[in-house]
């Protein structure tokens, strides 16, 4: 880890530790440029991952990865009139929402599902005549509302007949599957942060809680539970770092597929094992563990669960046949192209 990333981690850590007032903390994140990191020339993805990971360690309910995505796509597409902190949404595949031309203006149609709640409008990627565009949707009416397992409010948004302001839409200037890949990557980094806190809480609790006259950490069965969490965290840590550095080198589809698949799969194991270590206290809302395990069980399904990403890699591997090993370890541009081709045709409900 380079110094600049360590510094970024330390500064968001300080902000979130200090923050008691939610609005003030949000403003602090904004003025510290935390939503802009994906625009950086170098180490953009590794820095972004570090920030969302640390935020997830604190279980903050301030949105970070969504606004990062919104800033990044709006900037790359050259949109104007987008607020500094906006939400972000993808329409799934096949898309449930799209853009149309009407009387020389662009209007949206269809709907978006599972959009995180936010006050400032939404940057979305919607197709216009089959080509992906970045669109800013300033105001839209929510239809129904649901909560995910982490307690985050989601809405379905009706897009029919919303007129897009001048400068509010432009063709996506990067490969069509990239927004999904990057969103999945940031979600994996969030999962990592929550997992790290589960490890810290579990090992600390095992050292403190006494039964039969000694800390439960002295029981081998409990030690092995702690080891399983540690192995899981280590696996996701390496996978997320690899994905970050591969993205920063201009590749990264394979590495993100691996990171998101492993993070989603391991989320379930770590949640279960951490609860087992904690006994009944961990099952209450008076103890912090549940805040993290509920996030694990919710985030793992965002932007493709483990079955989705395994299917992408498996479909490509069947085509790669005897070349699978070299695709995996050489990770060349051809590898990512093949994965993108599979991704473009894969069904995904957001």
């Amino acid at each position: 880890m380079t110094d600049s990333i360590a510094l970024a981690e330390a500064s968001i850590d300080r902000l979130l530790q200090r923050g008691t007032d939610r609005d003030q903390t949000g403003a602090d994140l904004l003025s510290a440029g935390m939503f802009d990191v994906l625009l950086a020339e170098e180490q953009a993805f590794e820095t972004a991952a570090a920030l969302v990971k640390v935020a997830a360690r604190h279980a903050t309910d301030l949105p970070l990865s969504g606004p990062m995505m919104a800033r990044w796509l709006a900037d790359r597409a050259g949109l104007t009139g987008v607020p500094e902190v906006a939400g972000f949404a993808l329409p799934g595949n096949p898309p449930t929402g799209w853009l149309e031309r009407s009387d020389g203006r662009l209007v949206t149609a269809g709907y978006l599902q599972g959009v995180p709640d936010g006050p400032n409008g939404l940057v979305a990627v919607l197709p216009l005549d089959g080509a992906p565009w970045v669109v800013f949707i300033a105001k839209a009416s929510g239809l129904g509302e649901a909560h995910d397992l982490a307690g985050q409010r989601h809405r379905s948004i009706v897009l029919d007949g919303l007129t897009i302001a001048d400068g509010g839409a432009a063709p996506l200037p990067i490969t069509a599957s990239t927004p999904l890949v990057v969103a999945a990557f940031l979600t994996a980094a969030q999962l990592l942060g929550a997992m790290e806190t589960c490890l810290t809480l579990s090992t600390r609790y095992a050292g403190e809680r006494r039964q039969f006259g000694r800390p439960i950490a002295q029981f081998q069965a409990v030690q092995h539970l702690c080891a399983r969490i540690a192995v899981g965290v280590a696996t996701v840590r390496v996978a997320v770092t690899h994905a970050a550095r591969a993205l920063d080198r201009g590749g990264g589809v394979l590495e993100v597929a691996i990171a998101k698949s492993k993070a989603s799969e391991i989320a379930e194991e770590i949640a279960a094992v951490a609860h087992q270590i904690h006994g009944a206290i961990g099952f209450t809302n008076e103890y912090p563990l549940g805040v993290f395990t509920r996030r694990l069980l919710s985030w793992r399904d965002e932007y493709g669960d483990e079955t989705f990403w395994n299917g992408i890699v498996g479909t490509a591997a069947i085509r790669w046949s005897t070349q699978t090993w070299s695709h995996l370890v050489d990770a060349g541009p051809g590898t990512d192209d093949d994965l993108r081709a599979v991704l473009d045709n894969a069904d995904l409900v957001p």
């Binding site: 880890m1 490890l199 090992t203 095992a206 050292g207 950490a217 081998q220 030690q223 092995h224 702690c226 080891a227 399983r228 969490i229 540690a230 192995v231 965290v233 280590a234 696996t235 840590r237 390496v238 996978a239 770092t241 690899h242 550095r245 080198r249 394979l254 590495e255 597929a257 691996i258 698949s261 492993k262 799969e265 483990e306 079955t307 990403w309 395994n310 299917g311 992408i312 890699v313 498996g314 479909t315 490509a316 591997a317 069947i318 790669w320 046949s321 005897t322 699978t324 090993w325 070299s326 995996l328 370890v329 050489d330 990770a331 060349g332």
Partner: protein
């Protein structure tokens, strides 16, 4: 524990991978070997010699001893490619992986001159003499003893499960050279044993696959000259711990059954569409482990000693290589067998029968998890 993840840029390793793949393709083309699971237990000295002649053995040994002066990461990449191809590397594997570095660090000058060039030439097989009939996980309780005698030591006792001892030239044996005081790790010593000299006898033992991979080795007063003691007498425990780090994190801890997956993807039995995600999960796990293991090698190359990281790779890696044949069997719906004439069914059969050993050899899963737990709980 992987707080700082070291990564190597795959682009910088491509040309070396190209070289070793070209060597392997040539060997395959002339029928020198058939890809097999667990191939680091398959002994073929002629293959090892050709491998060495091509520059792929003794890579990190100094050139003065016939080595190639390459980096730890370069050697790691070659290990990966050899095992992914299922090549028969047992004749040089143990020597190259752990015995040569051990001799380089702790051997006498005379010993280095005599043995290291032979290892680098792929013409010297080593065996690991740790376990005994009553000594498994509790390695500090070794009972094989060495008694000081005429300019050296005499060994008495029995080593067990010694892989490839019947085909090996040498063994590094851990023996008790004094009372277990002040603690049980005191007074242990590592000795080089020439398995062709008198005073030592070897009996091969058949495993459940019908192969004779490991042996019982009996010492009846075998004489070790002082020049063949490794390190200082009594320091054996520290030496053996260092050796185990090298033994635990390499590609041999996650690639043992990869040739089964390679064969399954080669298309003789079509992968049903519904099984794509199951097969994909294996490929994803392979990628995750390859990254972890390479990260440990990269950290070691930068001068760190990533001991817990190495052990974590062994735990996750052996779980993966164990479940691989089971997943392939279910996903493709095929029946494993032996000499069925169908390559995939035969490879699966061998892999399934070898799988139980992966979480035993090199330290059992229970012991490994205990070490990981102590590291994270005390943090």
């Amino acid at each position: 524990m992987f707080e700082h993840v070291h990564t190597s840029d795959p682009r910088e390793l491509r040309s070396l991978r190209g070289e070793i793949r070209a060597f392997l393709a040539e060997e395959l083309a002339r029928g020198a070997f058939k890809p097999a699971p667990n191939s680091w237990m398959i002994h073929d000295r002629e293959f090892s010699k050709r491998c060495a002649a091509a520059g792929f053995v003794g890579m990190i040994l100094p050139t003065a001893f016939g080595g190639r002066g390459r980096t730890i990461v370069e050697r790691h990449v070659v290990f990966e490619e050899l095992l992914a191809a299922g090549a028969p590397v047992a004749a040089h594997w143990i020597a190259d992986r752990q015995s040569a570095p051990q001799i380089l660090r702790h051997g006498s000058e005379e010993l280095k001159q005599r043995v290291l060039p032979r290892i680098a030439a792929g013409d010297c097989t080593f065996a690991i003499g740790m376990s005994e009939p009553d000594v498994g996980s509790d390695l500090a309780s070794v009972k094989t003893r060495a008694e000081a005698s005429d300019g050296g030591w005499r060994l008495y006792g029995t080593k067990l499960w010694t892989s490839n001892a019947q085909r090996a030239d040498y063994m590094v044996a851990l023996c008790r050279t004094g009372a277990p005081e002040p603690n049980r790790h005191s007074n242990l010593t590592q000795f080089l044993v020439d398995l062709r000299r008198p005073g030592v006898s070897v009996r091969p033992i058949q495993n459940i696959n019908g192969d004779e991979d490991f042996c019982e080795v009996h010492f009846d007063g075998y004489h070790v000259p002082d020049s063949e003691v490794l390190g200082k007498p009594g320091d054996g425990w520290a030496l053996v711990m260092r050796e185990l780090v090298a033994e635990r994190s390499g590609p041999d801890r996650f690639l043992s059954t990869y040739p089964v997956l390679a064969r399954a993807l080669a298309g003789s039995h079509p992968v049903p569409l519904r099984a794509a995600a199951e097969i994909g999960r294996l490929v994803v796990n392979l990628g995750a482990l390859q990254a972890m293991s390479l990260s440990v090698a990269t950290a070691a190359q930068s001068g760190h000693s990533p001991e817990i990281e190495a052990i974590i790779v062994k735990d996750a890696g052996t779980t993966f290589e164990q479940e691989l044949p089971a997943v392939v069997r279910k996903a493709l719906g095929i029946r494993p067998g032996r000499s069925t004439g169908d390559d995939l069914r035969d490879l699966l059969g061998t892999a399934l029968l070898y799988a139980p050993s992966f979480s035993l050899r090199g330290g059992t899963r229970e012991i490994i998890r205990g070490i990981i737990a102590r590291a994270v709980i005390s943090q």
